[in-house]
Subunit: 92 residues, 10 copies
């Protein structure tokens, strides 16, 4: 079951470089693990913004929330979740 | 080069069923041809809305506009185009 | 799996009373059938508006879209779907 | 008498973990007590957000405000209250 | 129990003068009856707009919705309802 | 001459309890004095928000601004002023 | 007493040229009479829009509403009224 | 003196093809004449929308409004004008 | 050439009273000098807000930007500039 | 391939003058180098705002994002990117 998620990252301007690097590194690992196990299907950068559009394939709403709220950057992000359905004109 | 496009369809309520069916049938053919030639990469229905989120893979802005403005439903749609870039944490 | 849906109804002002009554009557039957089979869990009127907030319990996004787009009033409604997850402080 | 309430929590990023844990723990107790006495009827997490949608059953506006403004997280939340009425198509 | 209601009137530009006059006359009677029985406590015109702010004193949400949806101008109005509570600094 | 004013209070989260109590106490005195002299006609709490809707009866725009900008909480509030006129259907 | 008013004109696209000319001509006369008697102090066109910003000098809210709602174009305009006060740094 | 203008075209869906073609053809001529005389400096299509961003070089606000309001498509367009100034980091 | 400018002042709540007084005093001098030389034509307080609407008469966009960005309060203000043109119904 | 980009700069009010000057100086060099190599085609100040509208000519979305995210002021800016296509009425 697919969901489109837009994530906007807002790191505090006074966060230390070390702390920022650590959080981003954790985020990267967490994200890549989810990509490799097939639940984080797409991850695209929005041009000109510290934001991404992502597509997730999970079994239900609870799994998606658990996954998203577990992101190391979660406390610094605004998210907007759009549930997706099969489009009648989609080819396979 | 990828773009995310949200399309909201607003058919006039007084459009005849025949006309509506004809336009939708043309749209479907046009859409499926673009999906098959690899330029309309994803097509998802937004749950509860007569809308879709789509991802296009084209060579430049002009090609995307030509493609979108050629949609049979174009006069009845609001579109919002978001250019996408590669995300540094994206796997593969 | 639960979703909160807000529906705003906009019947055309020039729709005949007969047509309006027919559509509303169909909507009522469709809605009550879904309430009785347990998928349309809550249906509340928004005070002062021709709108409702509803909660649906369905197995996935596709089932919800099929259900919503099948509403007789669907062509006359704006909908906003919010996927819900279990709250950690919820009792039971 | 029912009200739908959306609550968005914005804890300051520089709040200590101890303080945050204490407030959340108080919130949980307060919330569960109200759920058990039947006034906080539903409590759902919004997927991907530190937010909830709740339904309250109270006897009047004053009781609802007293209840909401007494929440330990109240100073850190944005709330939007929507009064609900019985829907003519609601079953039972 | 008090509610603040903002009503914005949008009469169709092609409504006949006779029809408009009739609806407005009915609205006036309905409104004045509610004012006299003490449920429509205040009725003010918003300067420069075909809109009003009103305060209602009713016993619950259902009574308010019944009252508002019964307004002859209801099909032509956008309404926004704000439930009010006693303010701790209010003098009696 | 009447005006509707919505006031949203945003006290800084790091303001000391003593300072907050002092400002609120001054606000209360200032407000009650204006209520008693008949210029602050209504003061209602917005349910679920640290906000109020108020109605003022003053002789002109300058008097209203002087009154509002003199509020002890003025530096911490967002205000929206709506000038009101007599409604033709208002009963006395 | 001064008010800033923004007026956005939306003539129906199917209004006949004769009708449009007649309404505009009446509007012009009405407006110029008010300018000459000193109540419509300023009238400026917003560049690129069928809109104006105006400043009125009237004795109270009721007079302003009577004046604005009497405009021949009133049924076709959206208006936003902002009450103005003397600025402490204003010269003279 | 430069201005950025965004123009969104909204032709009525029931406008005849002949009428639409005629207006667009007039618009094209008018536009190209202004481009050739150096006042309409840039004209770009917004991808996916029946909209453009344009830059005008005119001597003052009045000249710009005269030019814009003279566009054959003016009655069918929403415009937003942004005055531009020289940027201190601009080369040349 | 005229422009309407809305300025919203947001002084940081932790700015010292001395610093605030100094900046406001400079602003006042700067503003009154521009009013006296005829370029800051009108300066009005928005009732209930720490905001003003102003009208400037300058020779071009660059002069206006230079003037506005030189305001001592510029770093603490949000501004919105609307270019004005002569209105065809304006008297004189 | 062209893109219109609006950039709004929000330097923290507590940033030291030295730090601000250093970042702005780096931004200026970076910007002018891109202007000289032909990729930052236009750079205009928005009158009254610490903002600019820019036009970029790059070969694809990735190049644009790399360029924009490399701006020294990037952490302090909100950006909005609009992809542009050739307009059919554009001369040359």
């Amino acid at each position: 079951m697919l969901y489109l998620v837009r994530m906007d990252v807002n790191l505090p301007l006074d966060m230390s470089q070390e702390r920022a690097d650590a959080v981003k590194s954790q985020e990267r690992k967490y994200s890549q693990q989810l990509q490799r196990d097939g639940r984080w299907v797409h991850l695209w950068r929005v041009v000109g913004e510290y934001s991404n559009y992502s597509v997730f394939d999970v079994s239900d709403n609870d799994e998606l929330h658990e996954l998203l709220s577990g992101l190391p950057l979660f406390p610094y992000m605004d998210m907007k979740v759009t549930p997706l359905a099969k489009h009648p004109s989609a080819v396979d």
